[in-house]
């Protein structure tokens, strides 16, 4: 059974990779691709990623559902640049603020590819992350303060309850005779009620956690060990190699265009 907090991460090698390594890999690709605006580096990175996709252990259907928002966002970003991007070269169409030129066409393609190249690995790596394992990794591998990490993890469980609360609040307002008018005011009131309920739930959870010794003085131990292994090194290496190839080829063909230059 899967829930928001206990996702089915699969049994493939990817599922066993430490979430911290996934975080690092996504960051390496993201930072590298943000630096330049050219389409060559984006195409190469995206191509490498697509080749690796079958190894992610994510079913085609799930992949499609989860990446649809990214595909849409990439298209929209491209479209915006196409219509409103800085004009250069031949101008093909001009109407009010819209100018489509050679320059805006190539920039639009580059942007679409870039958004895909950055977002695709991030989405793939994160739908295979278990929040509990991520918290373990952040605390044990990166040594972030466990008070915050575990506190946030405990708090995440309440999100599902808030959704339930919101639905009940909405029905309750109809039952009280005040759901016909003043939509905006009602929304504000309902949001405030949810805030009150969530603070209440949060403080009860905090009491329950404290009663189980959370925040007590002394060294905490970890029931689940989180450490980096060869799979993690491999993933980060792959990310570094993809980034290096993309930049190198782009520089060699002369299309490398750093944003800050």
């Amino acid at each position: 059974m899967t829930t928001l907090l206990t996702p089915d991460v699969g049994t493939r090698a990817v599922a066993r990779i430490n979430p911290v390594a996934k975080l690092a890999a996504a960051a390496i690709l993201g930072v590298t691709l943000v630096i330049s605006l050219d389409w060559v580096s984006a195409v190469i990175a995206l191509g490498c990623e697509l080749v690796l996709l079958p190894f992610a252990g994510v079913g085609a259907r799930r992949l499609l559902v989860r990446t649809t928002p990214v595909l849409v966002a990439a298209m929209l970003a491209g479209l915006t640049i196409l219509l409103y991007g800085r004009a250069s070269g031949d101008v093909h169409l001009q109407w009010l603020f819209v100018t489509i030129s050679d320059g805006s066409i190539s920039l639009a393609i580059a942007t679409t590819l870039r958004v895909l190249a950055i977002a695709l690995p991030a989405v793939i790596l994160f739908i295979t992350v278990d929040p509990t394992a991520l918290a373990d990794g952040l605390s044990q591998v990166l040594h972030l303060p466990s008070r915050f990490v575990i506190g946030a993890l405990g708090g995440m469980r309440l999100v599902g309850l808030f959704v339930e609360d919101w639905r009940s609040l909405e029905l309750a307002r109809r039952a009280r005779g005040i759901a016909d008018r003043g939509r905006l005011r009602r929304f504000a009131g309902q949001a405030f009620a949810l805030l009150v309920l969530s603070i209440r739930r949060g403080s009860m959870l905090a009491t329950a956690m404290e009663a189980r010794g959370f925040g007590a003085a002394g060294q905490r131990t970890w029931a689940r060990e989180s450490r980096l292994g060869w799979q993690d090194a491999l993933l980060v290496t792959i990310a570094l190699v993809i980034a290096a190839i993309a930049v190198t080829v782009s520089v060699l063909v002369g299309s490398w265009a750093p944003v800050l230059a």
């Binding site: 059974m1 206990t6 469980r157 029905l171 309750a172 109809r174 404290e210 029931a223």
Partner: protein, 479 residues
């Protein structure tokens, strides 16, 4: 291993309050004793348990006097020696999986990893939770969640186990599950046990000592269950404790049934996914229909659907007897048309509160339907439900019983002929219970109809004319 408790002139006052929650408490509980802690609402029972568990907080949270010792050392330094299980199953689950949740306390205490998992297995076995360690905690029932909380406490190997109304939010099966788990655990570990609960009969056989706290400070009575029952039984029952042999008075009913107000045909209900099909029932003026069934069988969903709040998935809700000029489907009525015809009282009163004071809360309905004299409608209702003295108080700060009375009152303001009550007596003390039962009987005798969704067999006996038992749900949802 097992711990003794000693209070000497102990007192606590919450920050910002003028009165003391507990004062002048002198008490000694020997190691291994099993104590039921009683007292009227506001006698400081929960405060004492939280202090013993070391979670009352420091000087920012309040002010203390005297000493509270566990095995001779200050209670706030005894964290880990003491395990506390609270009332609400939802807010005690910390982590997403069963095994991880039980391990949480051990991790905080710095128990080595191998030892943690040994303890987790033993604790789950002790509370009778035979579940895989990676089972999502969100899929557990209320009774299972409370047993999980108990296992989490147990894995810490506490010398003192504190239970603060652990069964108040559970259905009857859940109550028995938790009680039996506690009995097994205390027998096996010999840990000292202190339980706070209104429903005394659950624990009566298990405890060997009963302590009654006096509101405002001190101990009112202290002895074996037999002694307390003989000496204090009637007084405790009057203060709201459910005492064996002192049931609340059941109201008289005159059964004068009028015409049909609402009926359903081949109704399928659910939120998106159907949980029940082909439900049939009808409700007549002056009668009470009780709806019962296991958790998750769609009782509340049925209440929302016939109450015009959720659309039926299939079939018909026909409220011809209430429509007076409108269509027969209550889901199509406007909100302000609904409140003069069907009043819905939710299981959690807090979901229905929309105003800053008790009085304003009652005025909401009266104003929504455009009554000319709001006070003439609201004042008698405040009086009838003993809320007059609380008229200017914020609804969220009321006690559990007061909140329940207010949420019922908000539905009564617009005088709907049909009331739908979802677990109206859940977790209520004996006194509030008797008041609510009397009120419902009065409404029924006045010609109103009530649909009561309830696990409370005593309420069914007291007011119900017929009972609808929900079948086992058609599709058990993943939630």
């Amino acid at each position: 291993m097992t711990a003794a408790v000693e209070a000497k002139g102990w007192a606590w006052r919450h920050a910002g309050r003028s009165s003391w929650a507990v004062r002048g408490l002198d008490l000694r509980v020997e190691a291994g004793e099993r104590v039921l802690l009683l007292g009227a609402s506001g006698a400081g029972k929960s405060t004492l348990l939280r202090a013993l568990a070391g979670v009352l907080g420091g000087e920012d949270e309040g002010e203390s006097e005297g000493t509270l010792l566990i095995d001779g050392s200050a209670a706030e330094r005894a964290r880990g020696r003491v395990g506390l299980v609270l009332q609400d199953p939802e807010s005690q689950v910390v982590l997403a999986r069963v095994g991880d949740d039980v391990a949480f306390g051990c991790e905080n205490l710095g128990v080595p990893r191998n030892e943690i998992w040994r303890r987790v297995g033993a604790a789950l076995e002790a509370v009778g939770l035979d579940l895989p360690l990676n089972q999502p905690t969100s899929a557990l029932s209320g009774g299972q969640k409370q047993r999980l909380a108990l296992a989490g406490v147990l894995a810490m190997r506490p010398g003192l186990v504190l239970l603060d109304e652990p069964t108040a939010n559970l259905d009857p099966d859940g109550v028995i599950e938790v009680r039996d788990a506690v009995a097994d655990v205390t027998a096996a570990t010999g840990a000292t046990l202190i339980v706070v609960e209104h429903r005394v009969d659950i624990w009566w056989q298990l405890v060997d000592r009963v302590i009654v706290l006096e509101p405002g400070g001190g101990v009112l009575a202290d002895g074996t269950p037999g002694e307390i029952l003989a000496g204090q039984g009637a007084a405790l029952a009057a203060s709201g404790v459910w005492v064996p042999g002192h049931p609340p008075a059941l109201p008289a009913r005159n059964a004068r049934v009028g015409g049909t107000l609402l009926h359903i045909e081949q109704l399928a209900i659910g939120r998106g996914v159907p949980v029940q099909h082909d439900l049939e029932m009808s409700i007549a003026a002056g009668s009470c229909l009780a709806v019962s069934g296991a958790n998750g069988s769609g009782k509340s969903t049925l209440g929302l659907t016939i109450g015009g709040l959720l659309a039926p998935i299939a079939g018909v809700v026909d409220a011809a007897g209430l429509a007076t000029g409108l269509g027969h489907d209550p889901f199509r009525w406007k909100s302000r048309q609904l409140v003069t015809r069907i009043g819905s009282v939710f299981q959690d009163p807090e979901h229905q509160f929309v105003a800053p004071t008790v009085r304003a809360e009652l005025e909401v309905g009266a104003k929504a339907i455009g009554l000319p004299d709001v006070a003439a409608r609201v004042d008698p209702l405040l009086e009838r439900l003993r809320l007059t003295g609380l008229a200017d108080v914020n609804p969220f700060t009321l006690s559990g019983g007061e909140k329940r009375r207010l949420s019922v009152a908000t539905a009564l303001v617009t005088r709907p002929p049909l009331l739908i009550l979802d677990e109206p007596t859940f977790g209520q003390d004996c006194r509030t219970w008797a008041e609510l039962a009397a009120l419902f009987a009065e409404l029924l005798d006045g010609g109103s109809a009530i649909v009561a969704i309830t696990h409370d067999q005593l309420l069914v006996e007291a007011i119900a004319d017929s009972e609808l038992r929900m079948p086992v749900p058609t599709a058990v949802s993943a939630a």
